[in-house]
């Protein structure tokens, strides 16, 4: 039995009371049906908190699945393209998963708690695909999204603040490592992961301790200039750091209606996550074939001349359209104008010189601009602290 109260109410995260209190701009977005802040007080300042002090981002709407059971490890290995056996216990791995046609469904992170216990954390929902994948495996897949609250704590002073919170020896934690603590009598897990490309952590707690965690973090972090940041600032950081986003840079294959709009890992520049050494994973035979026959597209990182973001631009070569931009931003730290683009083969190799057709508007006046751009190798923003262990003190 159930009754529906209001049918338009958005969901809120376990941190909502605190988030709302700090959201000076009252600028809200909808993430997976949750009310989440686009910006708290100033997008650029929020962004710089991540790059020079510490920024806190409410990750709770991420989809989280607990995968356990005797076959969990084999299940994961068949699911994702990378070799899961290489992810140790208390380690995290970035992974993508494909359908049988070798087209990317989503990317996400795999947390390994034990030989046969994992958490898959994804931007898109995956209940349906994960359930079909259980056929033939003695494994249980449980959607635990609502029973785990999470914050991304990112930036140069993040290690210091979390250490003050009680995360002892956190500076010894390697990138993609996990450490377990308690907070107010509840388990608290910290992983050295993030979507900003900086030194940073993600903190995972039961929802009932969410508000206390937030309060404590901001109290301890005050002197280390901790600030919350919203999804607009995150967007800047993730583009600068070279991360892709589903529904922006690619479409999950099963959401695609039109023929040819799906992408393979190779076409997204994620070939390094495809481990053919494994005898079986979803998409393997299709991807082997693609490797032999060639891909349709190349995913290119472009350094665009000038300072006008090449949002939604066509990319041209010798006057012919050869691609389109999926994400673009002026990156405040790197001081460069970056864009991700899907480029038709054979164009888009590193060093290739292309032209972005940019339209921008000032005072209702539109200007068309042909900006030269160059395909570059790897993200421009790669601070040493991102990978250093022990994490440098601040």
């Amino acid at each position: 039995m159930s009754t529906v109260s209001r049918d338009t109410m958005m969901l809120t995260t376990p941190f909502h009371s605190r988030v709302e209190a700090m959201c000076d701009l009252n600028d809200w977005g909808n993430w997976m049906g949750y009310t989440t802040p686009n910006a708290y007080f100033d997008v650029e300042l929020e962004y710089f908190a991540v790059r020079s002090t510490t920024g806190v981002f409410d990750l709770s709407p991420m989809n989280k699945y607990r995968i356990s059971g005797p076959d969990a490890s084999r299940y994961m290995d068949r699911l994702v393209t990378r070799d899961v056996s290489k992810i140790g216990i208390d380690r995290v791995g970035y992974a993508i998963w494909c359908n049988d046609a070798g087209q990317v469904l989503d990317d996400g992170t795999i947390f390994r708690f034990a030989e046969n216990e994992f958490r898959l954390c994804s931007y898109q929902r995956a209940d349906d695909w994960l359930a079909w994948n259980t056929l033939g495996f003695d494994v249980s897949v449980e959607n635990v999204s609502e029973s785990i609250a999470a914050l991304a704590v990112q930036g140069p002073t993040s290690c210091t603040i979390l250490t003050l919170l009680g995360c002892e020896n956190l500076n010894q934690l390697k990138p993609f490592g996990m450490a377990h603590y308690t907070f107010e009598g509840h388990p608290l897990m910290v992983s050295r992961t993030g979507f900003t490309g900086d030194l940073g952590y993600e903190v995972w707690v039961p929802p009932e301790t969410a508000e206390a965690l937030w309060d404590r973090l901001f109290e301890l972090g005050h002197e280390y200039l901790i600030k919350p940041f919203g999804s607009h600032a995150l967007e800047l950081a993730r583009i600068e750091a070279g991360f892709l986003q589903a529904h922006v840079d690619f479409l999950p294959a099963e959401d695609v209606v039109r023929v040819g709009r799906t992408r393979s890992p190779f076409e997204l520049g994620l070939g390094w996550l495809v481990h053919f050494s494994k005898p079986l994973f979803n998409g393997r035979s299709a991807l082997l074939k693609e490797q032999e026959q060639g891909s349709r597209y190349r995913f290119a990182l472009l350094d665009v001349a000038g300072n006008k973001p090449a949002e939604h631009s066509f990319i041209m070569k010798d006057g012919k359209v050869v691609g389109t931009v999926t994400s673009a931003a002026w990156c405040p730290t790197a001081k460069s104008n970056l864009a991700y683009a899907q480029i038709e083969m054979p164009h888009g190799a590193v060093g290739d010189e292309l032209v972005a057709e940019i339209y921008y508007q000032r005072e209702l006046h539109w200007t068309q601009l042909y900006a030269p751009c160059k395909v570059i190798d790897g993200p421009i923003f790669q601070p040493a602290r991102r990978r250093q262990t022990p994490a440098p003190p601040q």
Binding site: V4, S5, M32, G33, R125, A126, D128, D255, V257, R258
Partner: protein
């Protein structure tokens, strides 16, 4: 005196559309209507003072936007208002709500199953792919695969290419989809019975098949391929009832100089030397025209108003074998107030949507078993609407009009004609069904019009009361509609054409058959085409 360039028989929406495009091309056109009112099955009738019933068709989605715009139907008074959503009430007192908003919809499905809620996105994408394949062909004449004419070959090739472009596996999936049952199709996505049952309704409405009958997945598609303002699959109400569509079309038609003649019951199409030359009414009046277009269903067209002597024998046989299956009935009810349903806040927006009471595929299939046995369903599948929650013109303030589409109702009851007692029994099964979920419903009834296939056939002239003028199964679709060899709107008699829902692309108040037929007629007359092409696919 009674001489025209073209005569259209039947002032339903397709007849009016056809007449409008012929008149727009400069022809002198008369549309003849048997009833004293126009509209056929797209009517609004005041059968209880102050209440207007869309007493046949009751919702709009499939009406082609190209036609609405081209004939300036909004200027002629047509306004289609989307209603969004709906619900299936469950025996356990719960319900499943179908919300238009994606996130809200997700949460509602997730309340029943998270897996299903997530699978819904895959279902939407796959179903959209199918609608995208078929939509470009709605405003086109189907090619004849048995013909070797360049036009047919070219169109066939194009048709084949659009399917080949899918690639091997998706093409096979498409063929599977077109031939599968809606039950099996939904099993590929959902695990929860009420969700499957809610979706499956679109696979059986208007058809004499059950949820497990192969071919019903396509019927589902037929209900999804329309749109309201570009929202594919959305449905809406014509403000003022479905009669507003006929009204606007008639105004468009008359604005081009067309003439509508009511109370004109056509007896025969007059054929001289193998050519249609006019029609004779039952009262003996004759109207003459070198073009005669029948908006009656294929059976009536070829078996009632055409002399079999004028037809090749294979056409008579094909018309006899054409499948029109009476499968549904309708109740139109004037209500003294708003009924309350178990488990749903009466202020919930879903109340303005399509409401149902079959919460499992098994119940729907059993309802079909009753039809196969020649009786109305004892636990009927209902597609129920309260349009007065959206459109204030349908009932006095605070009062409501309810439209209840009922599946299944057989064309004959155990082989015999419907009697008044049968009709009462049918009505009772429907009222009981609704009352099971709504405690105050029965007491609110002020007037009820009950239409079994008998009434629909007698009043509207739809054979067996079939709302689509012919089953929407593959043997009667595209180049097979109404029958192979005659799917291009031409009859075997020179000058005689077909424009009803019995022709491609079928029923559902699309107006596309009427428009497509006009294009073929103008082509034969070597006149410039006035019929718009379909919007390019997005």
């Amino acid at each position: 005196m009674n001489q025209y360039d073209a005569i259209v028989i039947g002032a339903g929406h397709n007849g009016l559309t056809n007449g409008a495009y012929l008149a727009k091309a400069g022809l002198k056109v008369a549309v003849l209507e048997r009833n004293p009112y126009i509209g056929g099955a797209t009517v609004s009738r005041e059968l209880h003072k102050g209440w207007y019933y869309s007493n046949c068709s009751y919702v709009s989605s499939l009406l082609r936007p190209e036609i609405t715009r081209d004939l300036e139907l909004p200027r002629h008074g047509l306004q289609v208002v989307p209603f969004g959503g709906g619900a299936t009430f469950m025996r356990n007192g719960d319900h499943f709500g179908n919300y238009a908003d994606h996130d809200r919809h997700y949460r509602e499905i997730a309340r029943h199953s998270k897996r299903d809620a997530n699978a819904y996105d895959r279902y939407s994408a796959d179903t959209s792919l199918q609608t995208k394949l078929i939509r470009p062909y709605l405003m086109r004449t189907p090619p004849d695969p048995t013909s070797l004419k360049p036009r047919d070959l070219r169109d066939l090739l194009e048709f084949a290419q659009s399917f080949m472009a899918l690639g091997e596996e998706k093409l096979l999936d498409t063929i599977k989809f077109w031939t599968a049952s809606v039950g099996d199709y939904l099993n590929e996505y959902f695990e929860t019975d009420v969700i499957k049952a809610h979706m499956a309704g679109s696979g059986i409405i208007g058809t004499a098949l059950g949820v497990y009958s192969p071919g019903t997945a396509y019927v589902l598609l037929h209900h999804y391929m329309g749109d309201v303002d570009g929202n594919v699959g959305a449905w809406g109400f014509a403000r003022g009832g479905m009669g507003a569509i006929a009204e606007a079309l008639s105004k468009a038609f008359m604005s081009f100089g067309g003439e509508i003649i009511c109370d004109a019951n056509v007896d025969k199409i007059i054929v001289k030397n193998g050519k249609a030359v006019g029609v004779a009414l039952k009262d003996g009046t004759e109207y003459r025209a070198p073009i005669v277009v029948s908006n009656l269903d294929p059976k009536r067209t070829f078996l009632d108003i055409t002399d079999p002597k004028d037809l090749p024998t294979d056409v008579v046989r094909k018309a006899e074998n054409f499948k029109i299956r009476g499968s549904s009935g309708k109740l139109n009810i004037a209500l003294d107030g708003l009924p309350v349903f178990n488990g749903l806040d009466p202020r919930n927006r879903l109340m303005a949507g399509d409401l149902h009471f079959s919460d499992s595929l098994e119940r729907q299939e059993r309802a079909y078993d009753d039809w196969k046995a020649g009786t109305w369903s004892k636990d009927p599948y209902l597609d129920m609407m309260i349009p007065s929650l959206t459109d204030p013109t349908m009932a006095p303030p605070g009062k409501h009009m309810m439209s209840v589409f009922v599946q299944y109702a057989p064309p004959k009851v155990e082989g015999k004609d419907w009697t008044d007692e049968d009709k009462d029994g049918f009505e009772k099964s429907v009222i009981d069904q609704i009352s099971n979920y709504s405690p105050n419903f029965r007491d609110l009834i002020l007037h009820c019009e009950t239409r079994t296939p008998r009434e629909i056939e007698a009043e509207v002239g739809l054979t067996e009361g079939n709302i689509f003028m012919g089953e929407l199964t593959f043997d009667q679709l595209l180049f097979n509609r109404p029958f192979p060899g005659y799917a291009q709107y031409r009859s075997p008699i020179k000058g005689m054409y077909m424009c009803s829902s019995g022709t491609h692309p079928g029923g559902g108040v699309m107006a596309a058959p009427g428009a497509n037929a006009a294009r073929e007629i103008l082509r034969d007359l070597k006149r410039p085409n006035t019929v718009p092409g379909g919007y390019a696919d997005d």
